[in-house]
């Protein structure tokens, strides 16, 4: 027993001593030799079919899409095309869904509720509040998602997206980030929550965190409608009708480009302050091109997105709808809760060039950016008491005629400054609750979730404030 113990002690002592003698690079050397031997064995045993033809085709495509002259123009053109198809293509199904869910099904539900003697309060809460908010999110969000994501996946399947990361990497490198952040940013234009999940392709933790925190600056599908509507009504109205379409489109593109610039600026700031450091690892695989599996891609990405949107609508939009309806219909001292809140928020809103209505809409619309505009309209009617428009307190609606809309908003005290600041604030504010939840799931950290949620909000308040004050200083 004791001899055994002694023997063991001796071996351990010897091992301890040898450990120092084998030197520093021992582990690395051993690992490298193992890999090298494995590679040699594989090279000897594996024969590869000759695939020179495909290889040459790949090389030709690569030369073209990464060329100094054509690389960037092709990239911009391709993404412009994707967005154009998404926005124009979504109009038809969006209108179809909204006519079924909102124009037809909603009155039927209300009628059914009345016929079985449901109290006005309950039917208002259920159908005007919860149902309508859910219907809104589905009809605004589902069609663009169902178009954007399959297109995006097709590009990915084909092998083009890694080349985009490759082309843009130097710019991301200069802001201390990873080239693959280009991919999660593009994904963010569809949906920020999806963009945050897409950062999984970035393997170094620091760069991944940067990509997660800055993803919110990619203008998502839920915010495009707000931008387009406000740009058309206010910015387009500044120029002759012939140019209105072009100018308002440029305004929206300008906001999206501002978002991209902010992504770089925020990445740079993060990597020079709280996330200091160099890129720990970088390697980017450029897979061979292959014909995309069109139908499979469309099918899976449609099913995935549909389920996702439905889940999101139920989990987040349903309670939001209830709260919006209740705030407009529950009164304290003869005045609804919503109006109390609006009066309370108004001084702050005015200070940053917005108003109480918009701020309240952004608070109740944290679950889904899609319902910002309907909520703003509903609250404006509530406050101004314009009875010719709207469908009653707490009922969200949209207006088809731009002139009517403009008149209503003017009655609500809107100016050109309000419109510009709303567009800015829509770009720079906290991410929606789905995204916040996703960030928490991906980072597993309350601290980084708070940074990702609150810092864009703070930045948005600062930007709108400065714009408002400078505007008033020079423009009156």
């Amino acid at each position: 027993m004791s001899a055994q113990t002694e023997q063991r002690e001796n071996i351990i002592k010897l091992a301890d001593q040898l450990r120092w003698e084998v030197g520093q690079g021992f582990h690395e050397q051993l690992m490298e030799d193992l890999y090298t031997d494995a590679a040699r064995l594989a090279d000897r045993a594996v024969t590869r079919p000759d695939s020179k033809e495909r290889f040459d085709l790949d090389r030709t495509i690569d030369r073209l899409v990464t060329s100094r002259v054509w690389g960037f123009p092709m990239m911009i053109l391709l993404f412009a095309l994707v967005f154009w198809i998404t926005i124009t293509g979504a109009n038809v199904p969006s209108g179809f869904l909204s006519s079924i869910l909102i124009d037809q099904l909603h009155p039927i539900l209300k009628g059914a509720a009345a016929s079985i003697g449901m109290s006005a309060f309950l039917s208002g809460l259920l159908f005007d509040g919860m149902y309508l908010a859910t219907a809104w999110v589905i009809s605004v969000m589902l069609p663009p998602m169902a178009i954007f994501f399959p297109l995006f996946t097709l590009l990915e399947d084909f092998g083009y997206l890694p080349r985009v990361a490759f082309n843009l990497d130097n710019i991301f490198k200069k802001s201390g980030a990873h080239g693959k952040q280009a991919l999660s940013m593009m994904m963010g234009f569809g949906c920020n929550a999806a963009g945050v999940v897409a950062t999984r392709v970035i393997d170094s933790p620091r760069e991944r965190l940067i990509a997660i925190i800055t993803n919110n600056f990619a203008l998502c599908n839920g915010r495009w409608p707000t931008q387009i509507l406000i740009a058309t009504v206010f910015i387009g109205a500044l120029v002759p009708p012939a140019l209105a379409g072009l100018v308002s489109a440029l305004a929206v593109v300008g906001i999206a480009v501002l978002g991209v610039l902010l992504t770089f600026a925020a990445s740079w700031t993060l990597s020079h302050t709280i996330l200091r450091g160099e890129v720990s690892t970088f390697s980017l695989e450029l897979p061979p091109y292959r014909p995309p599996r069109v139908w499979q891609t469309i099918y899976t990405s449609m099913i995935d997105r549909t389920m996702y949107v439905l889940w999101r609508a139920v989990v987040f939009a349903l309670p939001a709808g209830a709260i919006i309806w209740l705030s407009a219909n529950v009164s304290i001292g003869g005045v609804s809760v919503a109006e109390h809140l609006i009066n309370f928020l108004n001084p702050v809103g005015i200070l940053i060039g917005l108003n109480g209505v918009i701020l309240l809409a952004y608070i109740v619309a944290i679950p889904a950016n899609e319902i910002v505009i309907p909520t703003v309209l509903m609250l404006t009617v509530l406050v101004t008491g314009t009875s010719s428009q709207g469908a009653g307190a707490g009922v969200m609606f949209e207006i088809d005629s731009n002139t009517t809309l403009l008149n209503l908003l003017h009655a609500g005290g809107w100016t050109l400054l309000t419109a510009i600041n709303l567009m800015l604030f829509s770009l720079i504010h906290n991410p929606c609750s789905t995204t916040i939840y996703t960030i928490y799931k991906e980072t597993g950290s309350l601290k980084w979730t708070a940074v990702a949620a609150l810092s864009p909000l703070a930045l948005g308040l600062i930007v709108t404030f400065v714009v408002a004050q400078v505007w008033r200083l020079f423009g009156g």
Partner: protein
């Protein structure tokens, strides 16, 4: 509605105030927390480290040298010595300050913590080399032996920190690196770097800027009182002797003559070569990633095309296209093959 001028002025005032409060390293909050961190325990641990280093180098620590090393005044240092004597960490014999056996153990514990943290920062984070020492100086304090054991296990029981200093084992054992200062070595003899001194910062920054790392093979070309010229992995370097004195080397036993080495980043578009190795400066996750990609000695690489933004370059490695940034390609050594097509 407030006057825009008033509002903007108030905003700027608030902004300046916030920056003064929260700016990292200079803001009030940061300084205040820093002061809270620097308690007696930290001072004692820093003093132990200082006395231990003095003893290793055969110097005698004084009140003044302690005050300088720990960044306190002489009165505070004298008080600190009194406290440490009381706790039987140091003794005064023949007017010399010495560590007691307990003091040596305590000092080795702090040194172990420091070097393990440096190893961690080098292998597992992307932080800049010049920042490791300062951060390790913060993390080394107040660590229990269990914590360090866990860290050591996580890092795979490393023997040396990234500068080449041995990491004492949990029982306090270690073997010194045994290197000699570079200027004391004969010219034209194959040498290997075993240690880079990381203090003072200014000199270390120069060594880092040259891209030197422990494990590199070097050979002195010429030496004058003003400058020392040497080859390191195929590049020629010139350093002042005072800087070179902080580089420790040993004579390389397996004396194959170090020859000029080309790097993957030297490869122009369309050229190809064979990998001959990975630089010693490349460690941790990055090294593992290279191995995973099959970047091994003997692997053929071909520079295929360059990003339109100027960086990275796409290389064909084992029938796969891999894009590497210039910094990464710098770490891979290659051998050009004239005859190979």
């Amino acid at each position: 509605m407030p006057d825009p001028v008033v509002a903007l002025t108030a905003f700027i005032v608030v902004l300046v105030l916030l920056i003064a409060l929260f700016a990292p390293e200079r803001g009030l909050v940061w300084r205040w927390r820093e002061m809270g961190r620097l308690n007696e325990r930290v001072y004692i641990e820093d003093t132990l480290k200082h006395i231990y280093k003095c003893q290793m180098n055969g110097r005698s620590p004084t009140i003044e040298s302690i005050a300088g090393a720990v960044d306190i005044n002489a009165d505070q240092a004298a008080h600190l010595i009194a406290v440490m004597t009381e706790r039987e960490l140091v003794v005064m014999t023949d007017d010399h300050l010495k560590l007691t056996p307990g003091g040596v153990n305590a000092a080795l514990h702090v040194i172990r913590a420091h070097r393990l943290w440096e190893r961690f920062l080098a292998d597992e984070t992307g932080l800049e080399e010049s920042g490791w020492h300062r951060l390790a100086d913060r993390y080394e304090h107040g660590r229990s032996p269990e914590e360090l054991g866990e860290l050591e296990r996580q890092l795979g029981y490393p023997t040396h920190d990234p500068h080449g200093d041995p990491i004492p084992s949990s029982s306090g054992q270690f073997v010194p690196h045994g290197g000699q200062p570079l200027p004391s070595m004969p010219i034209n003899v194959p040498l290997r770097i075993v240690h880079l001194e990381d203090e003072p910062d200014v000199i270390y920054a120069q060594i880092v800027a040259e891209g030197l790392a422990p494990g590199q093979q070097i050979r002195i070309i010429s030496q004058t009182p003003q400058a020392i010229r040497f080859w390191a992995d195929g590049d020629e370097h010139v350093l002042a002797p005072v800087v070179a004195g902080n580089i420790s080397v040993v004579v390389e036993q397996a004396a194959e003559k170090p020859q000029p080495v080309a790097r993957l980043s030297d490869l122009k578009q369309g050229e190809s070569a064979v990998v001959s190795g990975i630089a010693p400066a490349c460690r941790g996750a990055e090294r593992r990633r290279f191995l995973d990609l099959g970047i091994l000695s003997g692997t053929r690489v071909n520079a295929e095309f360059l990003s339109p933004s100027g960086d990275p370059m796409a290389y064909r490695i084992r029938e796969t296209l891999i894009a590497l940034r210039r910094e990464q390609a710098d770490l891979i050594y290659i051998r050009r093959e004239e005859a190979a097509s």
